[in-house]
């Protein structure tokens, strides 16, 4: 981290309360480094895992939401599994990504949330993920039109990509979930 100068004035109490509600006890961290040392994607992070946990404990929401780290985290759960204090670090990353999207913060890794949104769009429409539709949507929105063309084609030739989506019957139940069921209570 190039700029580690932080001030209590920047502490987001709301963010800390949110972590508490989700049982993510970042205050329990004693900076042992096990989380960072086992992270498979750590080499690509701008804020390493133990730094992210400490910044979270200081309520430094802005720094975290603007980081590459939150998007590059693969949700592999290695950190949370090995943390001697059982801190739900992967859960912290989930909270940060969701907060960044809800607040409309420009993601440091724009393609990654576009992928997630393409995936979720597919589930919202059909109730199941439909790869071709999802990939098409992602490619158009990310502008990454040529990447993996050959791979996609060979998967298609091997019958691994369905031409048409499979739609579930109870689509309305899935629509309801996507319409924000539960969020009425602001959580």
């Amino acid at each position: 981290m190039d700029n580690t100068c932080i001030s209590p004035d920047e502490r987001s109490e709301k963010f800390l309360r949110k972590l508490k509600d989700r049982n993510i006890d970042v205050q329990a961290c004693y900076q042992c480094g096990r989380c960072s040392s086992g992270c498979p994607v750590g080499d690509f992070f701008d804020i390493n895992v133990m730094e992210a946990v400490r910044l979270a404990a200081y309520g430094q929401e802005e720094k975290l939401l603007n980081s590459h780290t939150i998007w590059l985290c693969a949700a592999c759960e290695t950190c949370a599994t090995r943390c001697p204090n059982e801190i739900e670090i992967a859960g912290l990353m989930d909270v940060l990504r969701e907060l960044a999207l809800r607040r409309g913060i420009a993601p440091a890794e724009p393609r990654i949330p576009l992928f997630h949104q393409a995936m979720l769009g597919s589930i919202r429409s059909w109730g199941r993920a439909w790869e071709i539709g999802m990939i098409g949507n992602y490619k158009i929105r990310s502008g990454d039109l040529m990447g993996d063309m050959r791979l996609g084609l060979s998967m298609f030739m091997k019958g691994k990509l369905k031409l048409l989506p499979h739609s579930i019957k109870a689509k309305s139940e899935v629509k309801e979930i996507f319409a924000g069921k539960g969020k009425e209570y602001d959580r």
């Binding site: 759960e77 995936m119 199941r128 439909w130 790869e131 924000g180 069921k181």
Partner: protein, 287 residues
């Protein structure tokens, strides 16, 4: 034996061959699979990574459907397994929070390799082997989500799992001891950051090679797709096929490795085809 079955979206698409072999193996072992009617996507990683509420409610709907059947749920996909387990824990702790009046289902969510590695199932498989895998040196690859986080998955040995090893040993392959059994393949990062996928896959395949493996076996559809599809771009690897565990069992129990299964691989599965074309490898069938 009857089990509810949750295939999940991968097994309808990129891992269609996994689904086929799971169903075939279960049929051969007299296990009835009752596919959960009108199941929906569990949200995979994208839902829980960006929206907690959706990430929980999608798998919850599946659990409520499964509760009506009442049997244990067999789940071949590691990612679906983890999401269903997370939803199950949340429902049992506080159903009201999720607008569910009561959730008392006494059924379990079972990941495929822990199911197949049960002593009685393993014995049934062993008894049906008509052609063993000829000591094939193989790297058992678990990846992340059937194991981690153990507070969610209830995996008994999350750092040192043994289920895949016992299964492949029962069909005559030789599991190698290696370092990357539970390392991450990069999961869903593969689309947006193929460079990261290539690095992780390169590390994994090189580790398997170092240990002397000529093939890998997994029980996760994402691991299978990533490790096969990302190899061509990585120097020094590219010839390590990744089999689904049920694909190997099916081959050993039927004595054939059908060409439609072979064709599903992005890395040519020559090591296995070789075993099945060699006529010397016959073993006595069940008495």
């Amino acid at each position: 034996m009857k089990l509810s079955y949750y295939p999940g979206c991968s097994l309808e698409g990129t891992a269609l061959d996994y689904d086929r072999s799971v169903r075939d193996v279960c049929r051969a072992l007299d296990i009835d699979l009752l596919e959960i009617p009108d199941w929906n996507c569990c949200g995979a990683s994208s839902a829980h990574m960006t929206d907690h509420e959706i990430g929980m409610r999608l798998p919850i709907r599946n659990l409520l459907l499964a509760a009506e059947i009442g049997c244990d749920i067999l789940v071949p996909c590691a990612a679906c397994y983890q999401r269903l387990k997370a939803a199950d824990k949340a429902l049992r702790t506080d159903p009201g929070f999720w607008d569910v009046a009561r959730f008392s289902g006494d059924f379990q969510i079972v990941h495929i390799s822990s199911f197949l590695a049960r002593p009685e199932i393993l014995a049934a498989i062993e008894a049906r082997v008509i052609r063993n895998l000829a000591d094939l040196p193989i790297a058992c690859y678990y990846g992340c989500l059937s194991l981690r986080n153990p507070r969610v998955t209830d995996a008994p040995r999350w750092e040192m799992p043994t289920t895949l090893e016992s299964i492949v040993a029962a069909i005559g392959a030789r599991p190698v001891a290696w370092s990357h059994r539970t390392e991450c393949c990069s999961g869903s990062l593969t689309m947006a950051r193929p460079d990261i996928s290539e690095k992780l896959v390169g590390d994994i395949v090189r580790a398997a090679k170092r240990a002397g493996a000529t093939a890998m076996v997994t029980d996760c559809p994402m691991c299978q797709a990533n490790v096969e599809s990302r190899q061509p771009a990585v120097e020094g690897v590219g010839d390590m096929p990744v089999f689904f565990v049920t694909e190997l069992i099916e081959a050993a129990m039927s004595g054939t490795y059908p060409s439609k299964q072979q064709r599903a691989h992005l890395v040519p599965p020559g090591v296995l085809t070789g075993i099945f074309s060699a006529s010397t490898m016959k073993k006595e069938g069940p008495a």
